[in-house]
Symmetry: C2
Subunit: 348 residues, 2 copies
């Protein structure tokens, strides 16, 4: 196969502030895999500071040479090669998505059909409201809800300014939503590891009284030994995000969280994502799918496996000024893949 | 889809005695799924006493009515319907295999390609030597090895006649194999739950000194609380068979066995089999694939996913007088699926 890599830039409509910093956009990579007259497309989106486009491009360039004599359907062989020549998971995801797109195109079927999934299982996605002063939240929430029609909101908390700021921002979001629509609105909260254990329990109690469904990553990655304290006391389900990347991370978390947040840039693609879903389900855990700063290309890849999960948070493409791809549709608050073979994504 | 069911009879060349009884043959079911001009084939093989062809046929007949308006690629929807109208796992396997065969035929690709697997990962399969007096073992081992060319043998122990019988039979098998070939022979042992914990440890020590690779199901199903005793003391890896059926059984066993034996008739088909593999791998467990009294039809289905496992025990079709199907090839001691779409199985 021939693997080629191209950079592209994404600019966010609203800069996104989470507990660790502010993101206004990103440089992502488009990965093309060509073999037998078919080209598969994949996307690498930067996950954390280690996973820049520069670093991922170097990984992909090295892999491209090693994969010259490998066909795109030899995913197991590709995994072995990548295991021997390790790189960033976001780079691996870009390649894996392109291999899956190629396979689906070769088979003439969309991935969700190859996996036997039903699109009517896909639940509405949440739209993310970043950390902002209450005044800004009051402006952003109506804008997001009106522009997208979304009725599920995920509020980023864990502000460095503390719990009062978190409470004021969340209350502002709920007030603004109530002023925007009479529809029922679904709420979830993501602390991105910004809380201490006691604060996490206090916030979970406060948020439970306000109709929140679950809390994501209350404690920082590395604080997993403190999760049982929160798990035992929280009235809300706890989902791990930064604390879980791959299927092998699941067993150690299974007694201290209610669910896991899978992201393609963490798992290194769809193949490990499916394994993560199955490992989590074997433990009776809930599963959500989230995203990094992704275009419609990798968002659509996530949408293909979203019939397997309980909660969907595939919204980054809805916050772009210039999404370079068109793929999954946005209908009734749901991100739904189409009937075209493979990922079903084309340039905008 | 249209689901039709047909009985067929399998007669074993050698009657197979295990710790629970003797099997000379079986009545199995051929499941046909037809939709859009494509027919997928699946097989139900009786697992235990509950799972007769009669019982499975009743399950399948009930499901056939419920599935009239469902297409074969809607596997997730089929699973929901079967979850609401529960039946035997072997019946579910017959249906699941037919759905996968249909899907592969629709996509024009063999299942192993749809799953991205590499056939060169497939390890040699073991041939089973049942429980027999040492004299009989001395006759059977050369016959099996000469007829099939196999160089990996799985010896059934756990004889009701006790450990002396087990030791004498195993020693006879090794003597007979040494008299048959100068090749290196691989050995594994399956007690089918026929031992007590202390006996299991003693036998594992005795067998380890004789080059055995691992021991399957030393204790009876239901005795899982005694497995840690064996696990802590056995010099050989312990694989669970009767103690594990589906992915959700894995977490509770992960601290007391080294691996699991998946069988399509236990998982209810390939879909759950893949989930079981992934759940086991997430725990760092080994995986083997085994079989019930199956023809080449479901043996071939198992062969398609065998690149994912460490040990293969797909041999029941090699002990049939009249295998009604042709599918995976038998080359160099390995059971290898072909390049035809779907399962790649046709009537003999």
């Amino acid at each position: 196969m021939r693997v080629t890599i191209e950079r592209f830039e994404l600019r966010k409509r609203h800069a996104l502030t989470i507990s660790r910093g502010t993101i206004t956009g990103s440089v992502n990579l488009l990965v093309r895999v060509t073999h037998d007259g078919i080209t598969g497309l994949g996307e690498m989106a930067p996950g954390d500071v280690r996973e820049t486009a520069d670093a991922a491009e170097a990984d992909l360039a090295a892999w491209a040479t090693l994969l010259e004599d490998v066909a795109p359907w030899e995913q197991q062989r590709v995994e072995s090669i990548l295991a021997e020549h390790a790189g960033r998971s976001a780079a691996a995801a870009g390649l894996d998505l392109a291999l899956h797109d190629w396979l689906g195109k070769r088979a003439g079927l969309p991935l969700w059909r190859l996996w036997g999934l039903s699109l009517d299982r896909i639940v509405p996605t949440s739209l993310t409201v970043g950390i902002n002063p209450p005044d800004v939240v009051r402006d952003k929430v109506p804008e997001i809800m009106t522009r997208t029609g979304a009725r599920v909101l995920k509020v980023k908390l864990g502000s460095p300014e503390g719990l009062d700021h978190d409470r004021a921002s969340f209350a502002a979001a709920q007030e603004a939503a109530a002023a925007t629509t009479d529809d029922e609105v679904g709420w979830r909260v993501d602390a991105n590891g910004g809380w201490e254990p006691e604060a996490a329990v206090a916030m979970a109690e406060w948020l439970a009284a306000r109709g929140v469904s679950y809390v994501e990553q209350p404690l920082a990655r590395g604080r997993e030994d403190d999760l049982p304290y929160v798990f035992a006391r929280s009235p809300l389900p706890i989902y791990a995000d930064e604390s879980v990347r791959v299927a092998a991370d699941v067993p150690a978390l299974a007694d201290r969280v209610h669910g896991v947040n899978l992201k393609l840039m963490k798992t290194g693609g769809l193949r490990e994502a499916l394994r993560l879903v199955h490992a989590a389900r074997a433990h009776g855990l809930g599963v959500m799918i989230g995203c990094m700063g992704e275009s419609s290309l990798s968002i659509t890849a996530g949408a293909h496996l979203s019939p397997l999960v309980d909660h969907v948070d595939l919204d980054s493409h809805l916050n772009l000024l210039d999404d370079p791809f068109v793929g999954a549709s946005w209908t009734g608050g749901r991100v739904v893949p189409n009937d075209r073979p493979g990922l079903g994504v084309v340039p905008a």
